[in-house]
């Protein structure tokens, strides 16, 4: 069964958009999650990322990321309340604990943990949408002129991971098929064999990349300047889609609004010494804008 996070080609706007546009859009949402601590804004980013994923057809990836994000968020809350004893609203006194010292469960530490967890969860959802909707080949090829060796390494790894997973499955199956009197497979032997096999596979994949011309110098048109040549009438080197402008615009608007929101105090949140959450008009307006940005991957006729 394929991983729900694996890229699936679909005719949706986010899938056909150039990697730069998709990364600008999803990256803007993640940037907001890291710039802001206000729970309303973070929740809005989470809703926007979820909407983006669902409208782009990556519902299963979003569902699994939500589950994983929620688990991670709970873990962060638990750890935070155990290790942080700041805050004035003590909910529970657990007394002395080995290594931790005095443990007081405070509402403020819980709130701060929830914010950290929410931020991590939101980032996970955005990454899940990216993983399921953005073609990794196009991203790697876009990187090639900028960082050729890194792109080659990433291309090798991205191909070797599924091959290694298939090899491991086959080796485990062969292990189950060994006769009862044969030496048992054992984890160490399996790993050693897998490593040796991966090296052989890596050589084969590298040979194919060599044959496809990966070792050639990137053409001069691949330069960053050339990437913007369509702006002055040049021929674009990479394929663009009619949705690129939309994603670039939404990403830039979200980032500008985020900076403006910071200036206008939309990020008012303090966990200590007592919890203060600002829900002023700037915060509400900015959150609404963020939620609306989640509809960017929607087709016009949908």
């Amino acid at each position: 069964m394929r991983s729900p996070f694996a890229y699936t080609p679909r005719p949706g706007p986010l899938q056909v958009a150039s990697p730069g546009a998709a990364v600008t859009y999803l990256g803007a949402l993640v940037a907001v999650a890291f710039l802001y601590s206000n729970p309303l804004v973070l929740a809005a980013v989470g809703v926007a990322a979820t909407l983006a994923g669902c409208t782009a057809g990556a519902g299963s990836a979003v569902r699994i990321a939500l589950r994983m994000g929620l688990t991670l968020a709970l873990l962060i809350v638990v750890v935070n309340v155990l290790v942080v004893d700041r805050g004035e609203t003590v909910l529970l006194r657990l007394g002395q604990a080995p290594l931790l010292g005095r443990v007081d469960i405070t509402a403020e530490a819980m709130a701060e943990g929830a914010i950290l967890g929410l931020r991590a969860g939101v980032a996970m959802i955005a990454f899940a949408v990216y993983s399921a909707c953005v073609d990794p080949d196009r991203v790697l090829r876009g990187l090639r002129p900028v960082a050729g060796r890194s792109a080659l390494t990433a291309a090798l790894i991205s191909r070797l991971v599924p091959v290694a997973v298939a090899d491991a499955t086959r080796l485990r199956d062969a292990g189950k098929l060994r006769g009862p009197a044969a030496a048992p497979l054992g984890r160490a032997a399996l790993l050693r064999r897998l490593m040796a096999g991966s090296l052989d596979r890596a050589v084969d994949v590298a040979a194919t990349l060599e044959l496809r011309g990966y070792a050639l110098e990137p053409p001069r048109r691949h330069s960053l300047v050339a990437a913007f040549s369509p702006l002055w009438g040049g021929q674009p080197f990479t394929k663009r889609s009619r949705y690129d402008r939309r994603f670039y615009c939404v990403g830039v608007v979200v980032l500008i609004a985020a900076i403006a929101g910071l200036a206008l105090g939309a990020d008012s949140f303090h966990a200590y010494p007592t919890i203060e959450v600002g829900l002023g008009p700037a915060t509400v307006a900015f959150s609404a804008l963020i939620v609306l940005s989640g509809f960017a991957p929607r087709r016009r006729d949908a």
């Binding site: 060599e210 011309g213 070792a215």
Partner: protein
Amino acid sequence: MPELSTPPRAAPALAIERLSYFYPSAARIRHSPHQEGVNVGCALRDVSLTLAPGEFALLAGRSACGKTTLLRAACGLVPHFHGGEIEGSVHVAGIDAIASGPGELAAAVGYVAQDPETQIVSTTVAAEIELPLEMRGDPPASRARAVEEVALALAIPHLLGRTVDTLSGGELQRVALAAALVTRPKLVLLDEPTSQLDPVAGDELIWLLRRLNEEWGVTILLAEHRLERCLAAADRVIAMDSGSVSFDGSPRDFLAWAQQADIALETPAARLFSLVGIEPLPVGVRDARSILRDKGVAQGRRDGGPPAETCEPVGSAPPPSAERGFRTGDPRPSAPAEVRNLWVELYQGDEPHDVLKGIDLKIDRSERVALMGRNGAGKSTLLRTLAGLIEPVRGKQEVSGGIALLTQNPSDYLVRERVGDELPGDEGLAALRIVGLEYKVDSDPRDLSGGERQRLALAIALAGRMDGDEMPGLVALDEPTRGMDRARRQDLVELIEGLAGRGAGVVVATHDVEFASAFAERVALMGDGVVIADGSAAEILSGGWYFATEVARILDLPGVITPEQGAISLDREHPG
């Protein structure tokens, strides 16, 4: 007045002059002061050959004779990628392949290796085909056109939007071929491209290559073991032996040469004709039928030959089962494996699909059964279900006496550095004795030949499942002849006969009809998760087109599938 000049002669698609090559390990030994006088393994030895533009050449020879190394040298991987020492010259369409790297040669030569899984490097089919053009710096418009044209030529436009992990082996092989062809190279090199394909997909690929050769003028150099499949499509055959070219000539001359020099390279059709004493030897089914017609020998049902009733099955094959899937009134003692109404569901992509759809099958002790059918028909799934790797969703299966299953990659069973460590104790030694490897206890599995590794893997599967010398109820082999030459296939036939002779039911999933005709007494033909035909090998392998032996396709006589049977039949019908 300017003189009329003759047009410049096109450079040969491939020109190799006195090429010798040593892989790095052999080169190190060669230069070691302690190895003077030692015969060092030379992968290629003084090879010279020229391929003219538009030729279709077949590279024949036993396993490890140097075919793959020659192809690697022609695309620049040798020596640029594999290292080692090289002497002589290689030119591809006028480009010096030794001075240039594989990347520079990519526009002139395309290479398709044996395993399609490791020659795909992108996530989607369209990106994979487009990659060489993108690396070369072609603009999007010209890339899009080239991808579209090559996809149309190979009949895969419907695959362009798919991810590569959702493709079958045959589809992957076509995508790899498309990626090799998209730069419109002058020369295409293929290393056993049909080894993982069923007969239908294999035949389609060969005729696709022929069409590309005729319509696009692409020069083809194809290394292949199943010569009967591609000899008719080739203009020329180059045979190799121990790194040297041992024959270079027309397919018909090759067959005459193989009769004298290496009988393992003879095709079934040529064997049939040589047994009967008919000349010339045929290069394919069509040629054989034409020669027989010219000689006044009528063939089978299509040509109004002897009616089916008069042609008794020849050979040792028992009569077909009375009932599809189940044998009734069989004198054999017990059935070690029986499945009834077996349903298996597997995930293909995101969705679960029924892969086995109510299979009924019974295999008796000492019975040799070939499980055949196209890629994806459910053969491997059936064997894996019998071995307990897959849980069926419905139906009953009974395997008494245990099952030993050898999967498609014997190397997966070999994880230690000493044969004796894989199979310790008396039971391990007993298993080694069954496969004839008891004298290899102290060897490193990596030092064994391909056939020996396969036997060792089988011994690992058998160990502890035998009661003294008594075999487990069922021994199952999944595609055991991939990449095997005919001589090694014959060794495998003898091993299977030995296992069945000791009382095991043997079931082999295979695409290789000639191999099935050599070992099987019964064939179960699967299609889309069901058994669509089940009967004696003679009945099944002479009753169709794709799943029929070359002799059966030539003679079209019921029950006649091997050259020996064909010769008897022809002698009987046309004495003298």
